[in-house]
Symmetry: C2
Subunit: 340 residues, 2 copies
């Protein structure tokens, strides 16, 4: 029985993340984690005729790099599970076409990083696949034009807005091998507290993050202290302190140094012009796959819980007066050597 509690999967034989691939854009290449990524593009165009093709290129590069790191050919992958922010998840469908791998398309906005990793882990953990790849991507300019204003318009943004990460991340999960292991995953509920401001996604996503963290702790019987780090996806400087406060009120005490947010790690929020911090599918993907897994492998962290947050924002329903429904999916990743 993999199900534990109401909505968590706990793996009796934890699947292994045997390899990752991370690609980043220029702004991310000037941030504090620049050296952690496998490939950094110096410009947003990346030699492509459109931004959409640039995003797809990054995702194809990330999947290629992950395959190289694993020493696998794409034919050896059982399944590729991926999604992104673009309508019809075009970056992923085209990357899946290139891979030629059986494909499960998913959509969880910026929570896609952990939704895809959770499903890949379930597939491998259940003996339903040998090697499962999870992937996601985002590009600042593809997202800007699709969700907000034409980029040429150069609209000004309030300080609560977030800056979409340009990048792509992929991971390969296997039954055995060397690497950090996935011990558990918790699937999020769609939460909506009525926030309608698409320039304040962090606040909108906060209840979903809090709900998933609490659900995870309840289902698994773990305390926050079980983890060396609990890291949310992209709540940024408005949402993350709110999450901390909501958890405190609900009786869940988080140690400040052990409760971080990918949106505040990938950029130097003080120096870089990113308003409240980062966002985008690639944010939690490349911070996790590029930075946090390396810290586990170095022995600096033993156990982390990545709580990827997603604002399921639609320009259409926004124009029709709806608020922004949000979701968060969590995956627990641990050192393969518990004594480490």
């Amino acid at each position: 029985m993999i199900l534990q509690g109401k909505r968590s999967w706990v793996f009796p034989k934890p699947p292994v993340i045997i390899a990752t691939g991370t690609v980043a854009g220029p702004e991310e290449g000037e941030g504090p984690l620049a050296s952690e990524f496998d490939l950094v593009h110096p410009d947003l165009e990346m030699g492509q005729p459109t931004w959409e093709k640039a995003e797809r290129l990054m995702l194809e590069q990330a999947t290629d790099i992950a395959l190289q790191h694993a020493g696998l050919k794409k034919e050896q992958l059982s399944f590729y599970i991926g999604g992104d922010l673009m309508n019809q998840i075009i970056s992923n469908t085209f990357a899946a076409r290139t891979l030629g791998t059986p494909f499960l398309g998913v959509f969880g906005a910026c929570s896609t990083s952990m939704e895809s990793l959770a499903i890949a882990s379930l597939i491998v953990g259940a003996g339903a696949g040998n090697y499962a790849m999870a992937g996601t991507s985002s590009h600042n300019c593809t997202v800007e034009k699709q969700f907000r204003y034409p980029t040429e318009y150069g609209s000004q943004k309030p300080p609560t807005a977030q800056f979409t990460v340009t990048g792509a991340g992929a991971s390969i999960v296997a039954k055995e091998g060397k690497g950090p292991v996935v011990t558990a995953a918790t699937i999020g509920k769609v939460m909506d507290l009525g926030i309608k401001d698409p320039f304040n996604m962090g606040a909108a996503m906060t209840p979903a993050a809090v709900d998933t963290i609490q659900g995870h702790l309840q289902d698994t019987g773990r305390e926050p202290g079980y983890y060396d780090l609990i890291v949310t996806g992209d709540l940024a400087s408005v949402g993350h302190p709110l999450a901390n406060e909501m958890l405190r009120r609900n009786g869940v005490q988080m140690e400040q140094t052990k409760f971080l947010d990918c949106a505040l790690m990938i950029f130097d929020v003080e120096k870089q012009k990113v308003q409240a911090g980062a966002s985008g599918c690639a944010c939690s993907a490349i911070v996790t796959y590029g930075h946090l897994l390396k810290r586990i492998q170095k022995g600096e962290l033993r156990r982390i819980l990545v709580v990827a947050t997603g604002a399921l924002h639609s320009p259409l329903t926004y124009q029709q007066g709806e608020s922004i429904p949000c979701i968060a999916h969590a995956v627990a990743i641990e050192s393969p050597n518990p004594a480490h």
Copy 2:
């Protein structure tokens, strides 16, 4: 080990589809399967201020009906897996908000019906959930304005075009109970033979359907004759004969009366103004959940393979000169009583 062959899941203890819910629109209510659906709306507005809200209403009704049929409360569902054609799969995210169930958003265009059922079956088959619900929806007018032209424009269509089904379907999968069982599922690859005509989706999707059928037979060692019926999703009158021809050339002989297409079953293609036939996520969903499962329960069919086809068509990539990538996912559904 659930994995069999390269990309199929075969369940040692087949999950049971204990209940379904189907909702249809007015055109479907005048088609040959009208009496098979749980609820038929007499108009496209359904008392809602927008077509998007009408689509969401149908999906909420379908999930409600499925829960009623199963005698379950929504709190008893472990997971809801769903997607639709709308950008950001809004029909499903809002329906999941109403359900309050842990949610996995998926996207496979019109293949979403079987993608969601395959994942729900995997979850239950792997002991990763007690009750998993799969759902999808489409609405003729929401799709028309998003993918083609404003509906008010009243654009004329070539005879190869297809008519999007207005409807919603949901199913509940459980470890045990009464109902047809899911014995296997085969996950599709993204196939693209270069077709760029968004008014000829059936032809575009044909190679994906053929590839998944052949992959399924190869992985499971089953012959086409194992099934009383192999039914594709929405290839319609252009794509379906093409699929038959491609299979024949590849050495797979299908009996004509045992190889059907949901797009040609839900409408009377001769009499109703639907061009080449139906399309849309709801097409294969309500034909399968409303019609085919009843035929299994009546003992008219013992084993069927539903091959839901999806054109992962994006207006944006189409405008950028790309062809239409397609995918097909197959689920094998059988009578719980093999001697039947």
